[in-house]
């Protein structure tokens, strides 16, 4: 075995691990259900996991990753066993598919992974605290209920109120336990803490611990976003597979997992795909803004470094809560959670509400920080009209997050209270109004779309001049169009409700306001085209993604106005046309620019470049697949394919299209896998890139990569326009002596 290459040995181990675990899985299913099932989901998950662990062991020996995976497995097993015991004690019967066992397996597995990878760190401490907090809160309520003589056990061991308080405690315990609030506690007790913590951790372990450095937090946000994108994408592939042909294939009414049958599970996956992707986008946006904005401004850090860390760490328990909702009965409402359906949904909806509530909390605080940073911490000479254009986009986005996010939290909280305390906010039998919820919900959730896309459009405007080698056409207009979109975005929410039964006459003003969004958006497109005109255009991977973003966002933008005109929308609403349309806007406005930004700023963070060939394969695989996916979606939507259905009428003749869509979905998944491999492999093995790799005028590229600990050693002064490419002798920033930069 000594002279076999690690990869071959890895795959050999993979095969052995896979086969062994697969056999064990079949045996377990046989014991539990008394029949031989070869394609049980659990068997596949078990076997794939064992295979991956064995691969890691074979390829890299007993490394930290291998250790983490082994601990993950052990934790999951221990959790599962504990769950079975709890179920046996409380319910009096052994239930192999008890959700509580799956839940403990998930939580203990996660915790085990982080313990195994790096021993005691902020993530594992947080997770252990979250589990403890959840149990303490739940037991607290249970004890009170026992004392009051109320029913104390439910289908998921604890009752719903017990789970809700437990989940809320879990979030607070996570933050208290992992150390992200310890400085504030010290201040409260009169103890001073240093402005900048010395880094106790070297290398990648600092990313698993609480850091106040905006660059570390930016990377933490980004990696968490990538993780959630992978999970959300995996969910999409699960239900995309079910949709590949009409009739229910594997999510049947007979199957049962996490206390749900097939169609219920379909709805849970579909709903969680939506919300997990939204949260991952919020985190991705926060990641890019956190990393880049202070660098572009010439600041040492964000305005409130502790609040910054706190905002990030809030997102972790939020993500855990979202995953818990899958196991605790799921929910069948879609990400919109409309009552009365959400008022009747299983327990999972409460975990979902709390998860979104917590993620929203993180988003609000992050936005506050960005606005304060941009207002107070610009370097000398950086007047508003000389800020890098991405900063304008970040400000516009943050204004929305800061002021609108409360509404989604509020609307979900009201449903939560309706369920817990019988307050009939949206219950017509108690004088409530279900349509009111939709107004509150969309007041955030429409502007939220601009939270997703404005930073992406900012990335396009920021990178385009670098690769076109020309000034950004109409800088002021592009900057103002971001603000324009943000402001108009506040008064268009009811276009999601044209069929809802709200006042008929209200539909007209919302049609006008919605169509108005086209104008500032159009300004951006025309300016981008004019920026390319007579440039000297180069095409490295980030530029490909920028161009892809423009085309995809164009398709999303052009398919928008038909939904705004009321009468046409009466047909299009709640169909796959909408699904295709918004995937275009989100991919064009976030996913493509996000990838562009990662390829572009990767060398700044690591001092190495990502592999160009793999990057191009990623682009040329993802883009056509994506066009096929959304065009197919829009076409069958027009023909009568509804949204959010687990199965469709074979008489509609959509089988062939759906099969193509599923294949396209898998190809996108494959391209993202290639990206993830490229990303992590390049951190270690990428080509060195310590200088101004893109030949950019932007200040962060005038100093060596990776970025020094406290950003710029010398402060800089803004002495010119940011994008004066092609103007000889011009300069954007000038560093205080001694000039460290080599400027073109």
């Amino acid at each position: 075995m000594k002279n076999v290459s690690p990869v071959v040995r890895g795959w050999l181990f993979f095969a052995i691990g896979f086969i062994v675990a697969y056999s064990i899985g079949i045996g377990l299913v046989f014991v539990a259900s008394g029949s031989l099932v070869y394609s049980h989901l659990v068997t596949w998950i078990l076997a794939s996991f064992a295979g991956a662990t064995a691969y890691s062991w074979g390829a890299s020996g007993f490394s930290q990753l291998t250790k983490g995976l082994v601990w993950l497995g052990l934790g999951a097993l221990a959790g599962f066993a504990l769950g079975l015991v709890v179920e046996l004690v409380v319910q009096g019967s052994l239930n192999w598919v008890a959700p509580i066992a799956s839940l403990f397996a998930l939580l203990f597995g996660f915790t085990g992974f982080f313990l195994g990878v790096a021993g005691n760190n902020a993530v594992s401490k947080g997770l252990i605290s979250q589990i403890s907090g959840t149990l303490i809160g739940a037991i607290f309520v249970t004890v009170i209920r026992v004392l009051m003589g109320l029913e104390w056990k439910g289908p998921f061991i604890f009752t719903e109120p017990a789970w809700v308080l437990g989940a809320f405690f879990g979030v607070l315990f996570f933050l208290a336990g992992n150390g992200s609030v310890s400085d504030w506690f010290k201040w409260a007790r009169g103890i001073d803490t240093p402005e900048h913590h010395e880094e106790h951790y070297s290398g990648w372990e600092k990313y698993l611990n609480v850091s106040l450095d905006h660059k570390v937090i930016g990377v933490q946000y980004t990696i968490t976003a990538l993780l959630l994108i992978s999970i959300g994408g995996l969910f999409a592939l699960v239900f995309r597979t079910e949709l590949a042909a009409s009739q229910l294939q594997f999510l049947t009414t007979d199957m049962k997992l996490f206390g749900q049958n097939g169609p219920q599970l379909y709805n849970t996956f579909m709903s969680l795909h939506g919300m997990i992707m939204i949260v991952s986008i919020l985190l991705g946006v926060a990641g890019i803004m956190n990393y880049v904005v202070p660098l572009l401004l010439g600041a040492q850090d964000m305005a409130f470094p502790r609040l910054n860390a706190f905002s990030f760490w809030l997102a972790v328990p939020a993500a855990v809560l979202l995953l818990m909702s899958l196991i605790l009965g799921g929910f069948d409402t879609g990400w919109t959670g409309y009552p009365p359906l959400s008022a009747k949904a299983p327990l999972g909806i409460q975990m979902f509400f709390l998860g979104v509530f917590t993620a929203g909390w993180s988003s609000i605080l992050g936005a506050l920080n960005i606005i304060a940073t941009v207002i107070r911490m610009r370097s000398k000479g950086m007047i508003a009209m000389r800020m890098p254009i991405f900063v304008w986009a970040a400000v516009a986005t943050s204004i929305i997050s800061l002021t609108a996010t409360q509404l989604i939290g509020l609307s979900f909280q009201l449903v939560m209270f309706q369920r817990l305390f019988g307050m009939g906010f949206f219950d017509p039998a108690k004088g409530g109004n279900p349509v009111l919820f939709q107004h509150l919900f969309w007041f955030y959730s429409h502007p939220a779309v601009y939270v997703f896309v404005l930073p992406g459009l900012g990335v396009i405007s920021e990178l385009l001049p670098v690769f076109a080698r020309k000034p950004l056409f109409g800088y002021r207009w592009v900057a103002m169009s971001s603000l324009g979109i943000a402001l108009v975005g506040f008064v268009v929410w009811a276009h999601h409700m044209f069929t809802s039964g709200m006042n008929e006459y209200l539909r007209l003003p919302f049609m006008y306001s919605t169509l108005l969004v086209a104008i500032p958006t159009g300004v951006k497109f025309f300016s981008w085209v004019a920026t390319l005109w007579k440039g000297k255009i180069v095409f490295p991977t980030p530029m490909l993604f920028v161009l892809g973003a423009i085309v995809v966002f164009l398709l999303g933008g052009l398919t928008g106005p038909p939904n705004a005109t009321v009468s046409v929308d009466l047909h299009l609403h709640d169909t796959y046309f909408i699904v295709g349309h918004f995937h275009d806007t989100i991919f064009g406005g976030f996913v493509f620019p996000f990838f562009a930004a990662l390829y572009y700023w990767f060398p700044k963070a690591t001092g190495r470049r990502m592999n160009e060939t793999l990057g191009k394969i990623h682009f040329w695989l993802m883009t056509p697949s994506f066009f096929i996916l959304t065009f197919g979606m829009m076409r069958i939507g027009l023909l009568g394919m509804r949204r959010r259905i687990a199965d469709y009428d074979p008489g509609l003749g959509f089988d062939a299209t759906h099969l193509v869509l599923t294949i396209a979905g898998y190809l996108i998944g494959l391209s993202v896998l290639i990206f993830i491999y490229n990303f992590f492999n390049s951190i270690k093995n990428g080509d060195k890139a310590e200088g101004n790799v893109w030949n950019s005028r932007s200040p962060e590229w005038q100093v060596p990569s990776p970025m020094p600990m406290h950003n710029y050693d010398q402060p800089f002064e803004v002495v010119g326009e940011p994008y004066d490419y092609g103007l000889p002798g011009s300069q954007y920033v000038e560093f205080a002596a001694p000039a460290k930069s080599k400027h073109n």
Binding site: N267, P340, N433, K470, Y475, I537, L547, G640, R644, D649
Partner: protein, 337 residues
């Protein structure tokens, strides 16, 4: 200047090609499926205008962009930057103001089209619609008919007065184009004039729970003669059904029971009723019982009391029916051997 002329020509060519392409894909001149209502005329008309605008705008951005990428690319061995120009205020004002007019034009057309489809015929036929998880029930108040198929006479405006007993649903017949949510606690109206005889389906368009996908009922547009014949037939059936079994069957339609419980043995959300009377029921907790009258009464009034293996009782709300009504339903179930 040469660049502008070439691009201008290409934009026009591309716009035409895009429109033709969408037409070949069958989605330019009308939204498919086939239009079967008067309301769809003005909707498809507006859609077609929008497709023309989309084709032109698509070409207007894509052509100069692609042209730049090819003609203004950095060639091998070239260095240096592009031409230095920072903007053009006249141009910016132009592409702000011209789209503003386009927006106003489309908003006007949209309002006009909405007015067209909302046009009220005072003689419209009124039908009551009840939506519930996971079926539709149609009541013709003039004739005291209750049906799970919606029959409509052609070329006659109908207004559906829709109510929901549980969650939000949405009434959508793709061929009619229009859709309208059905909201608990209020009556919403859906106004349509079918113009094409044929069989269609109403498909619930607002996510309403686990079996939302299966919430589809037949909608049949008849000629006036066929419609009258159907009404007469239904009235005869209703008159003949003045037995307990007959009343029971009507109750199961009216309360939507058969949306989840089949009468022919096929498996829906809940157990089928065929042969259920007197059979042995196995429960998830391992116990079992004989399905007698007391068991059926319990299953209607308190569905969550016992969980039949393979089904989730949480999908079924408790029903408050009178003793007599339940007796009728049991009489009907007993006929399903």
């Amino acid at each position: 200047m040469r660049h502008f002329i070439i691009v201008g020509i290409l934009v026009i060519v591309m716009a035409i090609l895009t429109y033709v392409g969408l037409d070949v894909a069958g989605i330019a001149t009308q939204m498919h499926p086939i239009a079967a209502s008067l309301q769809s005329v003005s909707i498809d008309w507006l859609w077609n205008r929008e497709i023309i605008a989309i084709s032109f705008l698509f070409a207007l951005i894509i052509v100069p962009m692609t042209y730049s990428l090819i003609v203004f690319r950095r060639r091998k061995g070239e260095t240096g930057d592009g031409e230095h120009f920072e903007g053009n205020t006249t141009l910016e004002i132009t592409w702000t103001v011209l789209p503003l007019f386009a927006v106003l034009a489309f908003a006007y057309m949209g309002a006009y089209s909405l007015g067209e489809i909302n046009r009220v015929d005072p003689d419209a036929l009124v039908i009551k619609v009840k939506a519930q998880q996971f079926t539709w029930t149609f009541e013709y108040p003039e004739y005291e008919i209750v049906s799970k198929e919606l029959h409509l006479p052609v070329d006659q405006q109908v207004v559906l007065k829709m109510e929901s007993g549980d969650v939000i649903h949405s009434f959508w017949v793709p061929e009619f184009r229009v859709k309208q949510d059905v909201v608990p606690g209020r009556v919403t109206e859906y106004r349509i004039t079918p113009t094409l005889v044929g069989d269609y389906k109403v498909r619930c368009a607002e996510l309403c729970g686990a079996s939302h996908y299966s919430m589809e009922n037949l909608v049949i547009v008849n000629t006036q003669a066929d419609y009258d014949a159907w009404i007469a037939e239904q009235r005869a059936i209703a008159a003949a059904s003045q037995t307990p079994e007959g009343r029971g069957q009507l109750l199961t339609v009216k309360n939507g029971c058969i949306g989840c419980h089949s009468v022919d043995g096929s498996k829906l959300v809940g157990p089928s009723w065929q042969g259920i009377d007197g059979s042995t029921r196995d429960f998830a907790d391992g116990t079992s019982a004989i399905a007698d009258d007391a068991y059926i009464i319990e299953s209607i009034r308190n569905p969550q009391a016992r969980e039949v293996t393979g089904f989730s009782p949480s999908s079924m709300p408790p029903y408050t029916l009178t003793d007599e009504e339940i007796a009728n339903i049991i009489a009907y179930i007993k006929t399903l051997k």
